[in-house]
């Protein structure tokens, strides 16, 4: 029998990708040996070096020494002749050598204290944090917030723009709706700076489905272009035509047809 399946199976795709990557990795002529395992934590000297004398801090650094807020840096240290190494500011006791990734909220100086049988050695390292204070977290899923979600805002603040039959002309009423929508969009984009909004073009049931796809696209484009003239960045507005495939009502009368001849706003992906 013929196989008529036409699926995009994510599992199969992932498996194929994994096999492909594996095959690529195995394809190299001289396989590189994996790095050796990290040395065991050493509270005592395991190199046979004398334990008398003060510990030596061979390295204590933070790279990069200056980061922008939100970026991470790596702390690196190597100590010999110590049986106890600790770092302040919440890091605590650590092995004689190691690394630690951190994302410091502010400029901070760390002090490493290495204790040996004959005393202790200290070293310091500083990371400088630059840039503006972190923005408040997005309120996108904050349904309890006064600003509401992006979805609820798009749904409640933006009005449909209505069109005449077989037309994408912006009427006076549509002009008023779009002007109000532009103001609302500015507030929405101020509250949700990374958001994008779909401008959907729709048609009534009367024309052909094929022509209505083209007409719906033209309606969405005319609404987007008008909003762009009012200062809304066009790249935040994505047009999509649904033709007559997504009606808001199905009665065969002018009041329903008018409601369906619209540009409608929805949250972009």
């Amino acid at each position: 029998m013929k196989n008529y399946s036409f699926r995009f199976d994510k599992k199969v795709f992932a498996l194929t990708l994994a096999i492909a990557l594996l095959a690529a990795a195995c394809g190299k002529k001289a396989p590189i040996a994996p790095p050796p395992p990290p040395p065991p934590p050493t509270a005592s000297n395991n190199n046979g070096a004398p334990t008398s004398g003060r510990p030596v801090v061979a390295e204590f650094s933070i790279e990069p020494s200056s980061v922008e807020r939100g970026q991470s840096a790596v702390m690196r240290w190597t100590v010999t002749g110590s049986n106890n190494v600790s770092i302040n500011n919440g890091v605590g006791t650590v092995p004689a050598s190691g690394t630690r990734r951190m994302t410091p909220p502010e400029t901070i100086t760390y002090t490493l204290t290495a204790t040996g049988t004959a005393g202790e050695t200290t070293a310091t390292a500083t990371v400088t944090v630059t840039g503006p204070a972190a923005p408040p977290p997005p309120a996108r899923n904050n349904t309890g917030g006064s600003r509401g979600t992006l979805e609820s805002r798009v749904q409640s603040d933006l009005r449909d723009v209505l069109y005449d039959y077989d037309s994408n002309n912006i009427s006076d009423a549509a002009r008023a709706a779009l002007t109000a929508d532009a103001d609302a969009l500015k507030r929405i984009f101020a509250d949700f700076p990374t958001a994008s909004v779909n401008v959907e073009g729709h048609c009534d049931e009367r024309g052909s489905a094929e022509y209505n796809l083209g007409l719906g696209d033209r309606r969405a484009t005319s609404a987007r272009d008008f909003l762009a003239q009012l200062g809304i960045p066009a790249d935040k507005l994505k047009t999509i035509s649904y033709g007559k495939e997504r009606p808001v009502c199905t009665e065969s009368d002018e009041s329903c047809w008018q409601r369906n001849r619209r540009a409608h706003f929805s949250v972009g992906q």
């Binding site: 036409f6 009367r206 094929e210 969405a220």
Partner: protein
Amino acid sequence: MRVKLAGSVSIAALLLTGAATVFAQDIQRWITSSGGKPALAVIEFRGSGSQPFMDKFNSTLFNDLQGSALFDLRPKSMFPLNNPQRPEDLRAEDGGQGFALSDWANAPVSASHLVFGYTAAQNGVLVLYGNVDDTSQRNPQSVPLLASRYTGSLDEAGAIHVAHEFANDIIQKFGGTGSLLGSRIYFSSKRNGAKGSEEIWVMDWDGSNQKQLTRLNSLSFMPSVSPDGSRVAFTSYAKGTPRLMMLDTMSGRALPFYNQEASLNQNASFTPDGKQVYYASTASGTAQIFASSVDGQGFRRVSHRDAVEVEPKVNPKNPGQLLLVGGPLHPQIYQMNSDGVGVERVTNGQGEATNPAWHPDGQHFAFSWTSGIAAGNFNLFVMDIGSREYLQLTHGEGRNENPSWAPDGKHLVFMSNRSGTEQIYTMLANGTQIKQLTTQGINRFPVWGVK
């Protein structure tokens, strides 16, 4: 030819909406290519060990023969008592009881040919013995017009299969061309899926064997089929915005198609050699006609008008000529050369005219039109592109849209909401013999492929 056509003038006259007499004869000629019709008496076939499937067999055979529009099928109520099943049953005289061919030639049956035979289960296989005899033969043992053996699986599907094959042989014996056997209808269906989803389906030309081709869980519709039936292109929202997708009709696998960066790519139409497609895209702003190779590469803009343009349709006999649907006001059908020049409106500007579908002869096309009636109330018409004469095929039985010609040039498949929901129907080119092929869910955008 003239004389023979006279017999059908009365039917043709009923079709006329204007002075399109010559054109009506065109249509009549597609339907009855041989003028006078053979009168067939088709007995009720019986089965030995296969009787449970014979109702389906008999109805399939009858429908195929009637659907060909080649024959006058004589009513069974007039048949004599004895129905021969084997050539050996025939004798020179039977006193009007049915075992003589003259019993079928004479009134009231008045058949020119007798179609008879039977089926039997043999070694787990359904075997059909099918015969056609000329009833005017004097000697019942003379060479028959057709005497063949057909095999199929021992089930209903096998019974349908052998009925189709037998009917096809009969049709070919009588000069029927472009048989529908093996042809398939591609369409989109809203059934068995998530709410709002629509998938591409395929069925045999008579509505049997309906199969789902895509499982994209999205809105996928408006299929078109390549001239050789190997590819189906369709428009899908699977990736968010409407884009063109293509699949191999045999394997069901997706074939690559490069979509231009655009909010809309839709309505692919294949060139007669199957190597290029024309489609509508908003890559340049408003939807315009573009052309590309069959994988979407090497695209170029074809039309340059400030109006929505969709549904390009390449003439099957002349790849240099396109039909398309365009604005700027109420959509009409235009013709255009494949290089984008020579744009000319073909329909008369009244109402809305959409869904052009070339007849295989490249001279005529079917379309849907709201002429003279309220917007949205589409009926199907056929137009002669040379004379611009047209005939109306449907008359207000719901909306009637998306016509597509069968390979035989005699039948059309189309979508109608006459039953209350959008379903798929076939009919003869003169508007008769309407058959509903789908009932489950909503079914739209039929297109007839050679396979």
